[in-house]
C-alpha cells in the first residue's frame, strides 16, 4: 500500500479543458454540415485544414520552440482553427487559412503565453489580420445555390445581405434573401456564419452540457435587437429591421461561439452582461455607420480588450462585507 499525502480537496471534478473543447467542437458540427450543404465540400476541406493545421502549429510551437516536451494537446487550438475556417468566405483560397492560423495561434495565442494568457480571441485576430491583408479574398461572396457541389468557383459572386443593405437599402436586401433563408442560412456569407438555426442547435448542446452561461449571447443579441428596433423606427429603409439584423451576418456565430470564449470574456455574470451589451452596441454602430457592412468580429475584439477593466469593475461582493 503506497499512501499519497496531498492537500485537500482529495476529490476533483472529472471535467477538463479537453472535455470542454470537445463539447465545443461537437457543438460546431451542425454549422460545418450546414456549410457543406450550402457551399459545397470545399468548405469542409477548409475546416479540416484549419483545425488540423492549428493543432499541429500549437504542438510545434509549444513542444519545439517553448520546449514543453510533455505538452498534450487540449483541443483549444482545434477550436480556434475551426472557428477561423468558419469565418472565411466559401471561395477563399486554401492557403488563406494557413496564414490566418499562423497569426491566430502563433501571434494572438502563443506569443502571449498560450492558453489562458491571450487577451484577444485568437480566431478573431486571425480573421482581422486576413481582412486587412487580403480584403478581396475576404469580401468576395457567393450565393449558396448548388447543395453538395464540389467546387464553388464557377458560381456567380454575390453580396451578403448586410452588404446589400449598405449599398442598396433594406427592401432590396430582404427581397434578395427573405427571413426564412436568413434563418436557415441559405444566403451568402462566411462558411459557418449563415445559418442561425444550425448554430442554435449546436449552442443548445453546450447549454444542455452546462458549458456556457446564457448571459453573453442573450445580452449581445438582445442589444442588437434593441438598437436595431430604435433605428428601424427612425429610418427603416436605410437601417433595416431588427429581425433582419439578428439573422444576418456573423451575429449568431459571434455571439454564441466567439464572444463566449472563456479566456477572453469576463468571469462574473455581471461582467458578462456588460461585455454582451458592449458587443451589441459596437456591432450596430459599425454595421449602420462605419465603412464595413459587418461589425461582429471587430466589436468582440474591442470588448476583449476591455475585459480586464470589466473584471475589475464587477468584483463579486465578499460574503458578509458591507458596502462602504
Amino acid at each position: 500500500m503506497k499512501l499519497v499525502v496531498a492537500n485537500a480537496p482529495h476529490v476533483r471534478t472529472d471535467d477538463s479543458v479537453r472535455k470542454i473543447m470537445i463539447d465545443v467542437l461537437i457543438a460546431l458540427m451542425p454549422a460545418v454540415i450546414g456549410a457543406v450543404i450550402f457551399f459545397g465540400w470545399y468548405s469542409l476541406i477548409m475546416c479540416i485544414i484549419g483545425a488540423f493545421f492549428a493543432e499541429f502549429l500549437e504542438m510545434f510551437i509549444v513542444r519545439i520552440l517553448r520546449k514543453q516536451k510533455d505538452f498534450k494537446p487540449d483541443g483549444s487550438a482545434t477550436v480556434t482553427g475551426l472557428l477561423l475556417a468558419l469565418n472565411l468566405s466559401p471561395i477563399a483560397p486554401w492557403w488563406l487559412i494557413l496564414i490566418g492560423v499562423m497569426v491566430a495561434i502563433g501571434v494572438a495565442k502563443q506569443a502571449f503565453g498560450g492558453i489562458g494568457q491571450n487577451f484577444f480571441n485568437p480566431a478573431l485576430v486571425g480573421r482581422a489580420f486576413l481582412l486587412m491583408s487580403f480584403p478581396t479574398y475576404m469580401t468576395t461572396w457567393v450565393a449558396p445555390k448548388i447543395p453538395f457541389s464540389k467546387m464553388p468557383w464557377d458560381v456567380v459572386t454575390s453580396a451578403t445581405p448586410l452588404g446589400i443593405l449598405k449599398e442598396q437599402g433594406f427592401s432590396k436586401a430582404i427581397e434578395s434573401s427573405g427571413y426564412w433563408n436568413l434563418f436557415i442560412g441559405n444566403v451568402g456569407g462566411c462558411i459557418g456564419e449563415t445559418s442561425a438555426l444550425l448554430l442554435l442547435i449546436g449552442f443548445a448542446y453546450l447549454v444542455v452540457r452546462k458549458r456556457v452561461t446564457l448571459t453573453v449571447p442573450s445580452t449581445y443579441i438582445g442589444t442588437v435587437f434593441l438598437v436595431a428596433s430604435v433605428m428601424y423606427l427612425i429610418n427603416p429603409e436605410r437601417f433595416g429591421s431588427p429581425l433582419f439584423h439578428i439573422l444576418s451576418g456573423g451575429l449568431f456565430l459571434g455571439a454564441l461561439f466567439m464572444a463566449t470564449d472563456m479566456v477572453t470574456s469576463p468571469m462574473t455574470l455581471k461582467g458578462q452582461a456588460i461585455f454582451g451589451i458592449g458587443c451589441g452596441v459596437i456591432t450596430m454602430v459599425i454595421r449602420l455607420f462605419a465603412g464595413y457592412p459587418e461589425g461582429v468580429s471587430l466589436s468582440i475584439l474591442i470588448m476583449n480588450g476591455l475585459v480586464p477593466l470589466i473584471d475589475r469593475a464587477t468584483k463579486p461582493r465578499v460574503f458578509g462585507e458591507v458596502k462602504t
Binding site: M1, P9, V263, E321
Partner: protein
C-alpha cells in the same frame, strides 16, 4: 418544499450510501492509545501525569494552559508508558502525546461531578463542560466552554445545531441523529440554558430526510425547529449554515456571535449531554470509517487516541488504497502514518483508491471558481496573487475570508490547487504582519 441554502458551492458525489445503513457500534478498546496534549485548537494542555502512573478511564492527564485550551482525559484504564513526540496530523509536526497502555484490570471510570442540570446555574454547567474537555467535534476542535461563554456585549439569541454533514462519505452525524435523538434533545436543552436562548434550529441536508423527519418527531412540542437544507457543499460551513437558516450574514472577519448565533455540531451536543447528565468526560467519539478502499465501511464509537491502523483493519482496507484521510475528502487531512491516533476532531476516516492523477493546467478563466466560492471571493485571483507572493494585494482581495472549503479547487477544470496557495499565503501573511494590518 423549498430548501434553505446559500449562494455558491459545488456538488461532489455524495458517497453516503457506503456507510449510511451501518448502525453505530462500540469499537473495542485498544491495547494502547496515543493521546495528544494538543487535542484542541489553542494552547496544548499541560501534562499532569508521568511515566508509570496508573490512570483510570476519564482521569485528567492534561490541564488547560491558557484561555483557549482544554482538559485532556485518559481514554482507558491502564498505565502511562511514555510521553513522547509523535507526528500530529493537524499541525504537521511531531507533538507531545501521552502513551497509555491498557492493564488487565477491569475498566474503572473516574466520572465528573454530577448535578441536576435543570436546577444548576449556567456557570456550574459551563464548568462541567470545561472539565469534560469538550471541544468542537465537527473538526475544528475549538474548546466548547469558550464558545459557550461569549463576551457579555454579544447578545446571543439563537442556537444552531449543525447536522448538515456536507462532507461526502461521512455518515456519523446522520447515524447519531437517527439513533441518539433523545440524547441530542437533552444536549440542546442544556446548551440553550447555558446560552439563555429561546430558540434552537437544527439544519440537515436534504439527502438525510429520514433524519429530518425523525428529529421533527422527537423534538415535537419543544422550541427546537428542524430545517431541511439543500444538499450542496459546503452547506455545513458555519457562516453558510447561519445564513441559510436565519438569513443573517456574519460580517467579513467576524464570528457567529456577532449576529447573535452559536453553532454546535451534532456530536458536540451529544458530548455535552453525556458530560452534564452522565458525568462522562470526552474520551470517545463517533466516527465513520468509509471510502472505496474500505471493504466493510462502518460507524462506531471509538476511544480518543486509537491508532487509525486498527480502524482501517476492522474496515478491511484494500491493497490499492492510495489516500487515507482524517475526515472527509473535501477538507480532510491525508496521512501516510497509520499509527496516527484518532483526535477529538476526527469525524471519520476516508480511504480512497488510486484515482487518475490530475495535472495542473493553465487557468482558462472559465469563472467556475468564482461561482463556486461560498464566500464571494475570486479564487483564481487569490491563487495568482499568492503564487506571485503579492500577499498584501491578496489580502485586499479578501484572502483572509477564505474558509478553505475547497469548492474552487474541486470544480476547476484545469485542476488548479487554489487552496494550497491560499493556505500558504495566509500563513505567510499572518507571520509577516503578526496578524495586524
Amino acid at each position: 418544499m423549498r430548501l434553505l441554502t446559500f449562494k455558491g458551492g459545488v456538488h461532489p458525489p455524495e458517497k453516503k450510501e457506503l456507510a449510511r445503513e451501518q448502525k453505530i457500534q462500540i469499537f473495542p478498546i485498544p491495547k494502547t492509545v496515543y493521546v495528544f496534549l494538543s487535542n484542541h485548537a489553542g494552547a496544548p494542555a499541560k501534562c499532569v501525569v508521568k511515566q508509570e502512573d496508573r490512570v483510570k478511564t476519564g482521569q485528567i492527564i492534561g490541564e488547560p494552559s491558557g484561555f483557549i485550551s482544554a482538559y485532556v482525559h485518559s481514554p482507558l484504564t491502564g498505565v502511562v508508558k511514555n510521553i513522547e513526540k509523535i507526528y500530529h496530523p493537524v499541525h504537521g509536526k511531531p507533538m507531545e502525546a501521552v502513551v497509555i497502555e491498557q492493564t488487565d484490570d477491569e475498566e474503572e471510570w473516574e466520572l465528573l461531578e454530577r448535578k441536576v442540570w435543570e436546577s444548576s446555574s449556567k456557570e456550574e454547567i459551563l464548568e462541567i463542560i470545561k472539565k469534560a474537555g469538550i471541544v468542537g467535534l465537527g473538526g475544528a476542535m475549538f474548546p466548547t466552554h469558550v464558545k459557550l461563554s461569549p463576551p457579555p456585549e454579544k447578545r446571543i439569541d439563537t442556537l444552531i445545531i449543525n447536522g448538515a454533514e456536507c462532507e461526502p462519505y461521512l455518515t456519523i452525524d446522520y447515524r447519531l441523529m437517527l439513533e441518539n435523538a433523545e440524547e441530542m434533545l437533552q444536549g440542546i436543552l442544556i446548551t440553550m440554558k447555558v446560552l439563555s436562548v429561546k430558540e434552537a434550529h437544527v439544519g440537515i441536508e436534504s439527502n438525510k430526510m429520514d433524519a429530518v423527519q425523525h428529529l421533527r418527531k422527537v423534538f415535537k412540542n419543544t422550541p427546537i425547529k428542524v430545517h431541511a437544507l439543500k444538499t450542496k457543499y459546503p452547506q455545513g460551513a458555519e457562516k453558510q449554515l447561519i445564513h441559510a437558516i436565519t438569513k443573517r450574514k456574519v460580517p467579513a472577519g467576524g464570528l457567529p456571535m456577532d449576529v447573535g448565533v452559536v453553532v454546535q455540531n451534532v456530536g458536540t451536543i451529544i458530548a455535552i449531554k453525556k458530560a452534564v447528565v452522565d458525568g462522562m468526560p470526552l474520551v470517545e467519539r463517533g466516527l465513520t470509517v468509509t471510502g472505496e478502499a474500505i471493504t466493510k465501511p462502518f460507524n462506531a464509537i471509538v476511544r480518543i487516541g486509537t491508532p487509525i491502523s486498527q480502524l482501517l483493519e476492522a474496515g478491511g482496507i484494500t491493497e490499492d488504497a492510495e489516500r487515507v484521510i482524517l475526515g472527509g475528502p473535501m477538507m480532510g487531512i491525508a496521512v501516510n502514518k497509520l499509527e496516527t491516533p484518532v483526535l477529538k476532531g476526527t469525524s471519520g476516516i476516508t480511504a480512497l483508491r488510486a484515482s487518475k492523477p490530475w495535472e495542473e493546467k493553465p487557468c482558462i478563466r472559465c469563472g467556475k471558481c468564482i461561482t463556486a466560492c461560498p464566500m464571494g471571493l475570486e479564487p483564481y485571483l487569490l491563487n495568482l496573487l499568492s503564487s506571485k507572493k503579492r500577499y498584501d494585494d491578496a489580502v485586499n482581495n479578501g484572502l483572509l475570508n477564505c474558509i478553505e472549503c475547497g469548492s474552487c479547487a474541486y470544480d476547476c477544470p484545469s485542476k488548479i490547487d487554489h487552496v494550497r496557495s491560499i493556505k500558504l499565503a495566509k500563513k505567510v501573511y499572518l507571520a509577516l504582519r503578526g496578524g495586524k494590518k
